[in-house]
Each structure stands twice: as C-alpha cells, then as structure tokens.
Point group: C2
Chain length 646, copies 2
Amino acid sequence: MNQYQSASTATPAQAKFRPPTVDQVRVEGFFGTRIDTIATVTAHTLLDRCEQAGMLDQVDPDRPNPGLRIPFQAGNATVSTQMFWDSDFGKSIETAAYALFRKPDPVLEARVDAIVEAYARLQDDDGYLNSWYQRIEPGKRWSNLRDCHELYDAGHLMERAVAYFHATGKRRLLDIMARYADHIATVFGPNPGQRRGYCGHPEIELALVKLGRATGEQRYLDLARFFIDERGAQPSFYDAEARARGQDPVDYHFGTYQYMQAHEPVREQRHVVGHAVRAAYLYAGMADVSTEFGDATLRPALEALWDHLTQKNLYVTGGFGPSAQNEGLTFDYDLPNETAYAETCAAVALVFWASRMLGLGADGRYGDVMERALYNGALAGLSLDGTRFFYENPLESRGAHHRWTWHRCPCCPPNIARLVASVGTYAYGVSDDTVAVHLYCESVADLVVGGTALRLRQATRYPAEGEVTVKLEPATPSDFTLSLRLPGWAQSVTLRLNGEPVETLALTAQGYLHLRRCWTAGDRVDLSFDMSVRRLHANPRIGVDQGRVALMRGPLVYCLEGADNGNTLNAVILSPNSSFRCEAVAELGDAVMLVTESVREVTADPRALYTVAAPERAPTATRAVPYYAWDNRAPGEMLVWVRQEG
Amino acid sequence: MNQYQSASTATPAQAKFRPPTVDQVRVEGFFGTRIDTIATVTAHTLLDRCEQAGMLDQVDPDRPNPGLRIPFQAGNATVSTQMFWDSDFGKSIETAAYALFRKPDPVLEARVDAIVEAYARLQDDDGYLNSWYQRIEPGKRWSNLRDCHELYDAGHLMERAVAYFHATGKRRLLDIMARYADHIATVFGPNPGQRRGYCGHPEIELALVKLGRATGEQRYLDLARFFIDERGAQPSFYDAEARARGQDPVDYHFGTYQYMQAHEPVREQRHVVGHAVRAAYLYAGMADVSTEFGDATLRPALEALWDHLTQKNLYVTGGFGPSAQNEGLTFDYDLPNETAYAETCAAVALVFWASRMLGLGADGRYGDVMERALYNGALAGLSLDGTRFFYENPLESRGAHHRWTWHRCPCCPPNIARLVASVGTYAYGVSDDTVAVHLYCESVADLVVGGTALRLRQATRYPAEGEVTVKLEPATPSDFTLSLRLPGWAQSVTLRLNGEPVETLALTAQGYLHLRRCWTAGDRVDLSFDMSVRRLHANPRIGVDQGRVALMRGPLVYCLEGADNGNTLNAVILSPNSSFRCEAVAELGDAVMLVTESVREVTADPRALYTVAAPERAPTATRAVPYYAWDNRAPGEMLVWVRQEG
C-alpha cells in the first residue's frame, strides 16, 4: 500500500483539483447496480426509518413537539432520540437527492420537498436551524459545542442542500442553508463579540467548502478556514465553555480532547488519535481548506497524519479505529480482527479524506487508499438488497455479526448510502489543465477542462475485470493532461492510445499516468490491469495476522464465509502456490468468487480444548468472496486473514 | 486436559477427603523458596500497603474515623477506599499468619496481634463486624447484599482467623469470628424473622466450611449450606432487597444476576457465567458443602460447570474470564490472548474450586487443572521478588503489561500470596482410609490416616525434574491407600515400590495410582514422570491460536519473552520436529529455560503495513521461559502461543 514513498510533486503546488458535482457523472456497471438499489429501495427506506423514529416530528413546527420521546436505554439498540438527528435526517435526504438524479421519482421528490418546507418553517428569523435546540432543548443553543454536535448537524444539513441543488436544480434548500451559514458566521469568528469555538465533531468544515463551491461565495470558505484555524488553540475553548456551563473541564467524559482532535492546533498534529470518524472528517476539511486557499502550512500535518494512519493503523479493508470504547484509535499496529470496530462511517470518512488529499493533484497514495476503503471497509456497510447496514466491520466473525435494519445511532446507514449514490463524484478530479481519473467504473462524465466541455466515457467491467476503455469527446480539440490512476495493487499494466501500445514508465509519476496532448473527439485510451489474485502479508508488528494472508483481486479484499466453506474457518490452511479459479456467484450480484485447493485441519477430538496430538490435514476446496458481499447469505463465520504455510 | 471422560467412581460416594491444615505441611524446594520470600518480604509489604491505604484507620475504633477518604477516581489506579477492604486486609493477615508458621517473626506477630485487637474493639456487642458498615456507612448493614460484599468480607475475615489459629495456635481471632458467624446465623436463615439472603460475591460459604472444620461446630457448615441452597431462588432476594432500598431491580448495573451466579438455583446451573472469581468461589463452596453433607444433588451442577469451564472456557494457563467488562466469562471458546483479563484471583479461585472437587476422592481431572492453574495462571501473579502483582494475565503482550505494586482493587496481591504460602494444604487430601497426593513438592507432611499418625516426605526437584520419592513413616504399621496423582500431562511414568518396579496400569483409576497395603515406616515409593517438552494444539474453535502451539514441560506453560528473543515475537516460527535444550536461568530462580532452533521471518520493508512480498526466513535460536516467571527482567514482549508450521 505504500509504494509511493514521498509526497507528490508531479503537479504544481498551486494546482487545485475539484471533484465534479453529482449531476456531472452517470455511473453504470458495478456501482450503477448498487445505485439503482439505493434509488429504488434504500432512499425510501432511510426516510421511512427516520420518520418512524420521529425525526420529522421533531423538525416540523406544525407537528406536536415530541420532546425527548425515547431516551437512550441500555438494551434498546434500535431507536432513541439523539441530539444529532438532524445529521442523520440530513444524510438521508442527501441520499434521496442522489436517488432523484438517478431516477425521476415524483413521490420521493414530493416527500423531500415537504421535509424541506418543514425545515423552512423551523428556521428562526435569525437563520438558526437545529431541531434539537429549537424544539427539545430551547434556549441552550451554542452552549456545548464540545459534546452536542450542533455545528456537525449544520454541516450535514448543508451537504444535503448542496446535493439537492445539484441533483434537482432547486435552490430553496440551498438558500435556507446559506442563510443558516450566514448566521453561523455572525456567531463564530475572530472579531470582538464572536465566539472562537468549533465543533466537537468536525464536519461543518468540509460542508462549508461544498457550500462555498456550490454558491460561489468565498465567505463560506473563509468560515471553514476559521474553524480549522481555531481548532485546538490554547487555552481550550472547550474548557472555558465547560466552566460557563458550571462544569469542571476535568470531568470530560473522554478525558482528553484527543478524542475530537482538539488537543493541539491542527497544524501541530502528527498522530491520528481519538474518534475515527471525527478524525477523518477533520482531515478532509483541512485538505479542502489547504486546496482552496493554497495553504501549504496545513500539508505537513496532513502528510504526517496520512502516513501515521496508512502505515500503522489501517485495516487491510480500509477500515480504521479498532476500539468500540472511543469508536476510534488505540495504539499503533493494534488491529484486532474479530473485535475490530472499524465503523462503516470511518471508512466512508476515509474516502472523503483521501478524495480531498487529491485536491492538490493526482497521487496514487491517496487514490489507492480511497479505492480500498470504498470497495471494502465502506461498501460492506450496505447489504446487497439495500435494506441493512453494518455499523462495526470486523475482519473475522464467528457467525453472530450481522447488518442492522436500523441503529440507535443511525449515522452509518445514510452515510454509506450517500457515498455509493454519489460515487461518480469521487471518480474524477478536474483542474484548469488536467482531468484526473481516480476510480474506474462504467460511466459517462460531463466535465469542463480549460473552459472546454469534455464528455469522458469509461467502458469497463471493473472491478470484475481489469480492462478499461476511456473515450474522450471534447467539444473542440483541446490541450490538457489526462491523468489515469495506476492502481498500486496492479502488478502490471498495459496502455494503448488510439489502439497503439504505449510504454507507460516515462509517463508515470506518483502512481498516475499523465497523458498530455491535444485531445480530439473519438480519442481512446485502453488500459489493462493485471487482475491476478494477490496474497497480502501483514507487518510483523500486527501479531494476530502473522502466518496468515489476506486475499485480494483488483481492489477487492476477499474473505472466507461459512456459507461456502462450512464453519471453523481457522482450520483452513492455504498453500502459497495454489492457483485460484474465478467463478461468478449469481446470488451475490455476479461477484467473482475465488476457488482454490487447500487443506483443512481435522482434530481427532473436537471436544478437547488442548491436545498434544497435532490435527490431521485433509485436502479441501476453499472459496473466497469479496468482503463487501459477506453476510448476504446464510449466517455463518467469516474470515479475512486466512492461514497460509510454506 | 480432558483424558478423563467421566466422573470419578473410583472412590465410594461417601468418601470425604479433607485437606491438611497449614501447620501440617512444611514445603521446601520450588515453592519453599517462594514461601520464604513471602514470609520475609510479601507478608510485610501487604500489611504496609494495607495500612498506607488506610485500612487500619478504618478498622480501629481508637483511631479517628477516616470516612470516605479517597473516593474512586478514574485515572487514580492505585488507591481508593473500597467497601470490601476488610477482605483485602483479611487476606493480607491470612498471608502473615502463614508467614509466621513459616518463620517466627515477633515483630510481624505483634503487628498482627495489634490488628486483631483493633478488630476486637470494633466488634459490636451483637457480634457484627464490618469496618465499612460500622465506621463509613453506619446504619446500613445488610441493606445491599447484592452489591456491597458484606458477607464476602465476613468470609475472608473468617479464613484469616482459621489460618491464624492453625499457624500460631492462638484462638482469639477464631473466637471473634465465631461470634460474628453466630450473629450472621441469627440474621440469615429459613425461619420467620430471618433473611433468606446471600452475598453478591460468594466466599462466605467456603469460609464457613473452614470455620466449621477448625472449630468442629456443625452450625457453621449448616449456615454454609443455607447460603448455597438459597442462592438463585425465585423470586429473587435481590429484587426484593433493591425495592426495599427504593431502587428498581431493572436498573441493576450488570443487567442480569448471572453476573454473580444468582440467576437460578445453583443446582440448576450448567454454564459457567458472569464474574469469574465469584463463580469459582461459589463452586468451591458448593463442592465443600457437597463433601461435608454427602449431598449428591449438587454434583450434576458441579460436574456440568466443571466441564463447561475446562472444555470450552479455560486458558491453557489455567486462567479464565477473558473480559474486563464483567471480569468474567463471555461466550464459549472466546479466549483472546493479548486482551485476556484472566484475573489472578480467578486462577487462584480455580485452585480453590479444583481442590474442593477432590473432596469426594482423587480424580485427575481436578488435580490436573488445580496444578495447571497454580503453576501458571495464578503463580504469574506474584513477582519473583515478592513485591509486585499482576491483576490481568494476558497470554501475549507487546511490552506494556507489568505487575503493579498495588491496585485500586487490591484483591489479587494477598490472594496469590496466601495461596502460595499455604500451598502445602493443597498437596494432600486425607480420608478415613486414604492419603491422596495431589501435588508434588519437596515437603514433609504430618497427617493422620485411620487414626494413625503418618509422616509423609516428598523428596523431589519438581517441577524442574520429574523424579519424586515419597517416603512413608506411619507411627505404627498401618493399612491404608496411598493415592498418587499421575499428571495427565505425563506421557509416561515409572513406579517403584521399595525399589522394585511396579506396573502402573492395573493400579490406575481416574488419573491416580492407588497403592493399598500395610505401610510401615521406611516404605518408599519412587515415581518418574516423563518431562519431555510438549506442544499443545488448541481446539480449532479457538481461532486465534490456530497455527500455533503452546509449549509445556511438566506442569509449566512456557512463553517467549523479548528479553531472550528480541521483540516481534510473532515473527518466530517453530518447527514441529525441533528439539529443546534445557538451561537453568539463575536470574529467574534457576527456572528451566527451553532453547530450540527455529526460524524468524524477516520482512523486506518493516515500514510497510501490508506487502505482496512474503517475508524471508532466517534461522534463529528461540528461548522460552516459564509463564509464571515472565516480566521479571527487562520489559518486552511476551507470547504463549507461538507459531509453528508443518
């Protein structure tokens, strides 16, 4: 994962790559199927469950005030009133927005519009908009930024508004949220009478960048930068805020502000610590601000944090944050498999962060991790039928780990849904003179590079196969660079330009092929990536993975499931020399199954706990399926890191 | 561990084996050295730390009432006032009692006598004696048996009194505790006006049996039986008690009374659940009551619980209870290594339970587990210099796990100390016509069998060597059975009686050699156990141990330490055919080190987290030391389950 040893210098530091908006890319193929399911099933399901939980009742001032209907209860894992419901509702509406772009659905659109109007009615005269503090705990707004997700809520409501604007062209929600952002900018800032606060849960920073880009208003970018710059300043805003509430800061539940990456100014941070989702959301916002302002002072922190995560704390699936206790990081190389927390939202957030790290130019370090987290640690969070969701993503299960229909903390379901539904926006990056292709997927993108409209088509069965055809249709012949990601996992690649083989080495920098020429309509690039099965060995400091390999093919991490192999998966031993046969599995959406000959240990006395007698070995056929597809069939064991000897 | 498949029937059901008292056995050799350290160091250290914490201030009514001096604080791991301090102080005094038998020490004896007098002054006129409820929370006695350890405290104070009586012959403390026991018997019982309660933390049951045996008073055995019989009766005493305190039983912190094995009547229990120490203390008390009353109705539960623990939930070290959350059990085969809680007290308690299971007769199932827990999971809890103590006993460490000088919950230090200091009492069991030798250790025991005094000497360097000579000196020639445990781990054994080889097979039942004859002074039995190094393979359902072996030699589980092998111990791979060389390690008290040729994986890029390149292998010498001896040298990694291929 780390074949690129140093920071990218392939593109000028002032390059500013922005992602396309959701309406610019239409995705088919592998992700198209998933997006169709989200459009027809998940988007509705999310709104149903939000409303069943009581979110719309909380938002809509025309409905009876529900109050604190369902307080948190140990043992009630499914539903409780949460102060951050606006964020969950927001992400669900964002998913619906992408669904409406995918497929016209007047019923769904009317439903969203009704919710928009409820928010419009809820909004205070001064622009403030937070259903918790307006209806459940009125009078307490801005009293506890540390714990209460108020600006986090605002951020997700903003992202939702931007999505709905791009997906439908309707400005109503965007205007509501711009008004709220303007209000926030009056409350928070460096001037006398303003608060120098920032949210315990980062999110608004990246959301304000989205809002700034969508509206073209610099002031939203400035506000994002303010929150980044203030974070972790000493003495701590949170200490003062706690005292103002009559609380002693030392009573902070998580002990240290490392929990939300507010223990020191962000530019001084070098270690990924605390709550995983908060960390990656923050770093995504930092990268956005670095890109938009050309702020190089944020890069040393971003680079060090990236290295710390990817070189010492990242699961092979692209998940991270092993501990349930803090939903986050513990210590280096602490990557247990069965008890991995690896929250779906954390892998989603890593996609966000990685995508923003590409804002300064194509760099395979970021593209590779983005792809790894997307296809594995994140995508596993969504069942194939679009109705169930993982919160934790262990790399091993004894058969009792399954997706939820809903969760007391319903952050993951709409987060993975909105990511997949908008995956096309992560596939490309466009600067003044370059179009970068970060992800390969059957798609049609309508971009603009150097002022020229460009239709870019990808034809591919990726990730099932490694052949990708990129067709370019600039409106007029146009000189720009096409940067094509060379997946770090690909052990070989072939390139043809308009049918002619091209040697790739001289064109490659930082994990991307850079093709600069005057492109004309009909130009075509053919790529072919070696899709051989790879066996990954873990660093020796990850003790639990030693003597084991993780199987990968293309971007996909594989796992063994009880459904294919029977249980007691730890009795299976791969040979390092066995070959793999590929089979499509219809019931897993034609996912590619890997089949290989191996051995299985058979113990003479399965009732004995410890025996001197070594187990016998019997030949067996072992079947592996993509990790994202696990737990979509009969319940059973699952194992990513499989024993291998020799 | 499970070569004995069914319950013992080798001895009549009415057999009643009792252990010797501490003054009957003088131990030298391996444990003698440890007991000397306890007598000269640990016994003093424990009292010092108890008194520094404030325990004597709390007990002694002539001292200013300290009140709740040091409340529990997160982050203050060393000291806080605990409602169960009487138990910790009690176990420390019990340790001092054994120390005084070991070696006269007028200063220590005067110190204990002074503490005894403080307790005498504290005791209420009605006999009640609990420093927490008399001095810190007066007026609340017997209001919360579920959570507040009141009878548990009483039990440890009783055990202390019995120990001090046997060690010194002084009755003062025994009389104090008999008076308290008599008071308890007025409060608790089946009669009108009595409470049908029992303690949230079992302990008093086995303590009352000790008190009954020491005093010869049946009423203490009857009270022990009452507590056993009431436990788990429905409707729950704890529910009623909670309501009487104005609390809702559903708010119980641990959710279910499985936590303290009070979810159902004990005779119906079949699964080891909840807090590990509580579980084993309870089962020990059940076994004691079964023995003393010949109560066969307790045996089905005891047998099933034993099987459930030893066949599905026991670490190879004899530790159990993997989870810190409940300090106890989780689900079958959940035996993680690095995060193992495996509290020292739980292994100590398993020694207690196993020893009581021997009350109905010699059975290798119990003797083997007792030995395993004693030499490994329990003994590791005490540093070689007698000053530091493990609370948790993981089977793998990255180098940050070390013994404490003290603990907020100081239960383990005096528990392991009192066990080791009284180990001789676990080595033998005596019935009317049988002397059973359960543990081999250099020792002289003065027993009485069939009314005849018997001096039994063991001469052995066990566990360093497998030769044991047992010399018998009955006062007069005497007909009885000598039952000698054949360790389940011994792959072969030779027996000589007065120098003549004897075939063992016909004499063997349930893991013991039974030699019945008329013994005369000078009779001698020589045993030799095969001490070859064994590689244990774990049941395939313990996923994390697959592809690994645990090394054992004799009763000792071995581990690799960084001090001998460098770190990254998971890079070491044993060959199944390598031989082991034994070396004595002076700095570990002449512990036997095992040295073998093996290979170590060397990764090309130690900075990469995951690599396609398989690591290279280099030959290396690997050194293993007994698990009990780890963390007595330079800090570093530790690993019990070592990779093995082939």
